[in-house]
Amino acid sequence: MAETVLLEGNAAVAFALKQVNPDVVAAYPITPATEVVQEFSNYVANGEVDTEFVAVESEHSAMSACIGASCAGARVMTGTSSQGLALMWEMLYIASSLRRPIVMAVANRALSGNINIHCDHSDAMGARDSGWIQLFCENTQGIYDTTIQAVRVAENTNVQLPVMVCYDGFVISHAVEVVDILSDAEVRQFIGPFEPVAPLLDIRNPKTIGPLDLQDYYFEHKRNQAEVYKNVEAVVEDVGEAFGKLSGRQYGVVDAYRLEDAEVGIVLLGSTAGTAKDVVDSMRAKGHKVGLLSIRMFVPFPVDKIVGAIQHLKCIGVMDRHAALGSYGAPLFTAVRSALYGKTTVPVLNFMYGLGGREITMAEIEGIFTTLETTAAEGVKGEGIYWIGVRE
């Protein structure tokens, strides 16, 4: 039975966790993901879940406990943000290398310094190569829906990888929105019972997990792991489609908005998609052929879906909420432009925006579309990398 409730983004995660009822949650609170842990610990204290909640002393310990519990054979979930994710860094790689189907909510927040608690994507971008699947959410409904789907994606026998559910800190982690929820029974039926693959506590089949792995085999193990990411896109799409049948809300790996007949388009991640869709509508009303590609699955990067959606454009703008210091453009830009290599020769521009929670306005996004239209007509001026909304 569908029900409509008011939830802020973090509460939507906690509510989804409650419905999933995982075996173990090991977490350490950090702004702006604190309420995930806070609300979920209320469910634990009230006896509304069966979860073993491990209150750890740091995020490094949180992820370590998650990995240990997962290896033992538990369904495991957690949540963090920014410095917390950074502190987990070495454990993130171990979680993915050991193929642990852990689901983690990540309220995206800037990395220090200086100290900042507000939204940008530098935490998730730092973990880009850690082997975790990264799904980005546009709004609170997306967080709720994606958290539930992430469990089924992670645990799929062709995947068995950890998943980060990324959502913009404060922008949606603390925004109260109307959310359609499923019943506990629907959620549990959708994710199915947990069937651990090769659990350590299966003592009839003794095994070694995480042994020393030197010149002889490490390379082969990495190559072996790399192959699994080819399975992920189809599984995310299948799960998104199945979720659509259950809830009426369909999900894919990308969300293309008014791109079919567009001449210029923006590619981005996260909550700014909502603002940009309004800009697309208002500019379309004025006769501008503009469109938007919001990427839901950033890792593994769905190359064909992205290229197919934008290769017909005359100019493409990639918005990164992260400054890759010293690099030639930020991660989403380099990934998109690299994917387009050989497919199109149109200009691809990079727009850095919103660092440390800096507001991105509709006027600024309209300005980006105008820059794309001008570049399509007149060619690239300068290095093609722009900083939006920063004081000169």
């Binding site: 050991l98 068995q160 997990i209 042994p211 193990h221």
Partner: protein, 100 residues
């Protein structure tokens, strides 16, 4: 799933797991040995000092009698030769590759 030596990436278990016990037995830790113990049976008085002191449990004993070093696991540290009674010198160390 048995991992064969020299297995390619397609033949490895997911997650780098080793899905069977006691595989350390197959890891021949003696293969980088520089010096090799040579046991002289005719001089051995069966005091078992080498068996007691060997840090790698690489002295083979059958029916309470020393039968020589297990060269699969002997790292060539020379402790056995050192503790062998000086009058007997039943164990001597030679460079790996030389004839004993």
């Amino acid at each position: 799933m048995k991992i064969k030596p020299g297995a390619g990436w397609k033949d490895l278990p997911a997650g780098g797991f080793i899905n069977e016990p006691a595989t350390a037995l197959e890891f021949h830790t003696g293969d980088w040995r520089a010096m090799r113990p040579v046991w002289h049976e005719d001089k051995c008085i069966q005091c078992l000092q080498c068996w007691v002191y060997c840090p790698d449990s690489a002295v083979i004993v059958r029916d309470q009698k020393v039968c020589g070093p297990n060269l699969d696991y002997c790292k060539g540290c020379g402790i056995c030769a050192k503790v062998c009674p000086p009058k007997e010198k039943a164990i001597t160390m030679i460079r790996e590759g030389e004839e004993g």
